[in-house]
């Protein structure tokens, strides 16, 4: 099972209205800088439910998704079995 994690995000807002996430604070309290945004498109999250603008981001060499759903941001926590 995956979990929907709402996160605090720092984002930039361009004069044209383009919103891009720059960093986020994960559940461990650590702030992670987003190195690159690889893609942005409307999509549904099949893992945890919900839909909105989905950004494919690169953080520390790893790719991940961050979703902007209305005024909130969430990420998918992939739970691994031991």
């Amino acid at each position: 099972m995956s979990q929907k994690i709402y996160v605090r995000v720092n984002a930039s807002f361009s004069p044209e209205g383009v919103v891009l996430p720059r960093s986020f604070i994960w559940t461990d309290g650590h702030q992670y800088k987003i190195d690159r945004i690889l893609d942005a498109r409307m999509a549904a999250s099949k893992r945890v439910g919900g839909c909105g603008m989905r950004y494919t981001i690169s953080v520390g060499g790893k790719d991940s998704y961050i979703f902007r759903e209305d005024d909130r941001w969430f990420m998918e926590l992939k739970e691994t079995s031991c």
Binding site: R41, A43, A44, K46, R47, V48, G49, G50, C51
Partner: protein
């Protein structure tokens, strides 16, 4: 030129939204049901797993649980459904501005003008189907045809997540063998009438002589025959088209049955409470009212009457509706549901003849009172002021009943 009309139907909409919001429900039987406490405890929508157990829309919650003991009952979230519906329409609007909603989860689209850029009807339908699935996590069924009736029929033929094309050159082979009641406009009663005429299929309806249909069903019969022959020419309205308001209504199923005229009168006043502001915002007055009453055996009756003069004053409307109720309802059974509608709306500026004995001063006074209450409610919230008769209406649904204000001093929880 033949048109290309699409009818997009979001599959099991309410239940699908609940499942896409909470993917852990996807493998379980799910039904979205109204509140049992407010006596709306029926199945509003179900997913395909629940359907396989025989759960039907309109079943009561206990019936659904009898058929499928493991069913997950979900509360409805109308704001969420509105949001998903709007998002779907935003996707449709990228292809055409001719989008006509048919309920919250269905739309007709006229894509005739974008065939050159986006491809034929089937191609556009497939693009929409894939986009809705990818972007919203929901599935749609799309009917593609040259008129609205056949497009709607097509979207019902294959579900879920499918496209059905009913072409102009082969529609007879494709749909004339289908039952007549699969056609839009043929409900249970019409279907029974058609059966009496020996008409079971769309093809038989298409070939039935006009006189026979007209004699038995009037103009509706000939219109249905036109539909069956693919001759529906109704336009898909533009997405910004505003339908003229013909009536305004408010109805409630009460938490407890109403058993006397006094409670019925108070309930009717409560139902009419917002008519003043709603009519004023439309710059309309009402010339008549319609009253719908359902008893606790689910039998119902509806009556209409004219108002003494066109008005937008809730008190006048409520008084007339109460008079109508008292004169018509015979109290064979307690009352479960009442709906009041104001009908025959005219412009508030339209002149009218005042009767010799009409109390105009009182009418003006009531209008001023209602406007003052509206100002207060807009500034301080809906519950800031209300008639004293609305206190302690135990039979009203949650959130609508007012209780007496607490007395001062210490309160114990």
């Amino acid at each position: 030129m033949l048109r290309t009309i699409l009818h997009c139907d979001m599959n099991n909409f309410f239940a699908s939204v609940e499942c896409t919001r909470n993917p852990s429900l996807k493998e379980k039987p799910v039904a979205v049901c109204g509140s049992v406490e407010d006596r709306h405890g029926i199945v509003l929508a179900k997913n395909y797993i629940a359907k396989a157990y025989g759960v039907k829309t309109g079943d009561t919650v206990w019936q659904a649980k009898m058929k499928c003991p493991d069913i997950v009952i979900a509360d409805p979230h109308y704001e969420l459904y509105m949001k998903y519906s709007k998002m779907a329409r935003n996707i449709y609007s990228e292809y055409t501005d001719k989008i006509e909603p048919f309920g919250i989860d269905e739309c007709w689209l006229d894509v005739t003008s974008c065939r050159d850029t986006d491809g034929d009807g089937k191609t556009i339908a497939d693009i929409l189907r894939e986009r809705i699935k990818y972007e919203l996590g929901l599935t749609i069924s799309v009917g593609v045809s040259f008129n609205k009736i056949f497009a709607k029929l097509g979207s019902d033929m294959k579900k879920p997540d499918a496209v059905t094309v009913i072409p102009s050159d082969s529609f007879k082979e494709k749909i004339w063998n289908l039952p007549a009641d699969s056609l839009l406009g043929v409900g249970r009663r019409t279907s029974n009438t058609l059966k009496c005429l020996g008409i079971d299929t769309i093809g038989q309806l298409a070939k039935c002589p006009d006189e026979v249909l007209k004699r038995k069903m009037g103009i509706v019969g000939t219109r249905l025959k036109m539909y069956a022959n693919g001759l529906d020419t109704s336009e898909v309205t533009r997405s910004d088209y505003v339908y003229p308001v013909k009536s305004i209504g408010c109805g409630l199923t009460f938490r407890e049955d109403i058993k006397n005229n006094r409670d019925a009168a108070v309930a009717i006043s409560k139902l009419c409470e917002d008519f003043g502001s709603r009519l004023r915002s439309l710059k309309k007055s009402a010339k008549g009212i319609s009253l719908f009453v359902r008893d606790n055996d689910l039998n119902w009756k509806e009556w209409q009457t004219s108002l003494p003069y066109p008005t937008s004053v809730p008190k006048t409307i409520a008084d007339e509706a109460t008079k109508l109720f008292i004169s018509k309802y015979k109290w064979e059974k307690p009352v479960r549901t009442i709906t009041v509608r104001v009908i025959r709306l005219i412009s508030e500026d339209e002149p009218f003849q005042i009767g010799l004995f009409d109390d105009v001063q009182n009418e003006i006074k009531n209008e001023k009172l209602d406007s003052a209450m509206e100002v207060l409610k807009n500034r301080f919230g809906e519950r800031i002021i209300h008639p004293a008769s609305f206190m302690n209406m135990g039979y009203m649904p949650e959130g609508m009943a007012f209780s007496a204000l607490p007395a001062g001093g210490n309160q114990h929880v």
